[in-house]
Amino acid sequence: MADIANENKYPDDGYSQDLFVLKEDAADITIDENFASQSFWKEVRAQFLKKKSAVFGLIAIIIITLLAIFGPGMNSYSYSDQDLSQKNLAPRVAWLEGLGIFDGSETISTTSGSKTTNGYEDSGLSDVYYWFGSDTFGRDIWTRTWSGARVSLIIAVAAALIDMIIGMSYGLISGFFGGKVDMVMQRILEVSNGIPRLVIVTLLLLVLSPGILTIVFALMLTEWIGMSRIARAEMLKLKEREFVLASRTLGAGSFFIIFKEVLPNIIGPIITQVMFSIPTAIFTEAFLSFVGLGIPVPQCSLGSLISEGFNSFTTHPYQIVPPIIVMALLMLSFNLVADGLREALDPKFKEM
């Protein structure tokens, strides 16, 4: 009926309905004919590189990642090798010991005063070097710190990516369809946001056995909400724009519009949010390990290393220092990079 009505509407234009074909979900309707988007990313990169703190953060992340990959293989120890005859040795590095630092001596303060000892000399270990020292079981702290950093990074990145996928899809779908769908989805979100994260994580870990997968799952259940809010807000902004209308006119389906048309345009805020959620994930993992719900021994993460070092941190403070510094540096760097990205992507944004 509608087709006939349209044909009769403009009798003289010489066009007929069958000259037109709906392109539907064809890939070429998303091709951007002008190159504005390219220069946008160029601008973002320039803005980002101009901010010193963000560049510092990026470099620190790269260095820590490289060390997390290659660090454990740089000496002959493995993260689970125990040698009880070589326990609690202070850091000792080959070239630096001549300078009087990192020579394996430590000052132990007791109630009767402090004394300096050198565990290497006392046990006659002249050619043994623990770069960060060894722990109470005689394990190499250098190897354990970097394998711990590896585990923490894997957990954080995996959790952040899964949250991104879930939160993004939820927010985009909720924002795009609006109306009743949006109403129901937002009420569900409000209720799940009303449950404290701490409670969700503890209950989950009561039921499941501790391990990398459980921690990722716990983070997945709790961290998607922020992401979905951002995705929904962006979708509400963009769905009235002309390019969405154009795509719809050409016959594209809802899911095509959501994921092929709108998604590439909101990738900036989403990446920023991912960068912000990585330090949260690192922190949550460390917190869980500290409480005793983390990675099972002898595997380690930054959190479990800190928790182990805590038991002897007044007598052998060097044992807790490397994991703390690595974790603080990682969280700081991801925050700095996220801040820099946010400013680069949105020049109007005013934040410190």
């Binding site: 409000e190 449950i195 460390a286 917190f287 409480v291 800190i306 703390i324 801040d339």
Partner: protein, 311 residues
């Protein structure tokens, strides 16, 4: 306004019921029955089930459970301290945790506000940079790292404050835990205050106030800060909630006998009853705080209320 408050209260109550349902299901799934004495005959078991209402339909049991939770009847602890009512365990610990949490919020909010105002007034100077560095570090470094550092430096090396909490010196032994807990609150509030103050100071009514001849303290305090404070109320709520998580670890480090360390102990010794009761208390506190802040915010700033009523 009434409609908005009603909607928020309903959502809060519904959320609490969902949490209770989850907790109830978990309790049912936990292994073991409360009466696992082999000497009991079937008839005796039947009597016991009747006595505790366990023979009733599951829905009736659920509502009994809800009633018990709200009246503070949380059952008894099985492992941490045998057969002690959980309400009693919690009652002695909750005030300590709340006291330290309150002190942390107070320190954090006060110093955060000062840092933010200083950074905004003298922005792009060395003071601003220092405030920025402090707040970036405060946001990035977890509270228990501060706790360890502070307890090592001021507790162990310098010996200014006690390293562990003691009931005889409550004030001096809660300073280090409160300060380490407050760092995140302080940093977030400093960041937020700065950006809000900058925005307010750019606004036209500030220009008007300035052109009327107002200057100095009156301008900053009466005009800028009051308007900048409104959004800060909203960040305070999630921050208070974050304190709950932070307190778990900080209480462990300083061995504070609060609810946080009770929860950690309960988790580590698999005392399900205690974990579930504390989960309920944490959730209830969280929901009430969020509700109060949302309603307060609606009263302070009508724009929010109107926008939410539309949506």
């Amino acid at each position: 306004m009434r409609k908005y408050v009603l909607k928020r209260v309903l959502t809060a109550v519904f959320t609490l019921l969902v949490i209770l349902l989850v907790l109830f299901i978990l309790m049912q799934l936990m292994p073991g029955s409360p009466f696992n004495d082999e000497k009991l005959t079937d008839d005796q078991l039947q009597l016991l089930y009747e006595k505790y209402g366990l023979d009733k339909p599951i829905i009736v049991q659920f509502f009994n459970y809800v009633k018990n939770m709200f009246t503070g009847d949380f059952g008894v602890s099985y492992k941490i301290s045998k057969n002690t009512p959980i309400a009693q365990l919690i009652a002695s610990r909750l005030p300590i945790s709340i006291g330290i949490g309150f002190m942390a919020v107070f320190i954090g909010a006060l110093i955060g506000l000062i840092l933010g105002i200083v950074a905004a007034i003298w922005h792009d100077t060395i003071l601003d940079t220092i405030a920025t560095i402090i707040s970036v570090i405060g946001v990035s470094v977890p509270s228990y790292v501060f706790a360890l550092a502070l307890s090592f430096e001021f507790g162990f090396t310098l010996g200014w404050f006690p390293m562990l909490y003691s009931n005889s010196a409550q004030l001096s032994s809660s300073i280090l835990p409160s300060v380490s807990l407050s760092m995140f609150t302080m940093a977030s509030i400093a960041r937020f205050t700065r950006s809000e103050m900058m925005e307010v100071m750019d606004s036209e009514y500030m220009l008007l106030a300035e052109s009327k001849g107002l200057s100095g303290r009156a301008l900053i305090l009466r005009h800028a800060l009051r308007n900048a404070l409104i959004p800060i109320v909203t960040v305070l709520a999630p921050l208070i909630v974050d304190l709950m998580t932070g307190s778990l670890v900080v209480e462990k480090i300083f061995s504070i006998p609060g609810v946080g360390s009770l929860l950690v102990n309960a988790i580590q010794s698999n005392d399900y009853n205690v974990v579930i009761s504390l989960s309920f208390i944490y959730s209830a506190m969280y929901i009430v705080i969020m509700l109060v802040v949302d309603i307060l915010y609606g009263i302070i700033d009508p724009r929010i209320r109107l926008a939410k009523e539309d949506g």
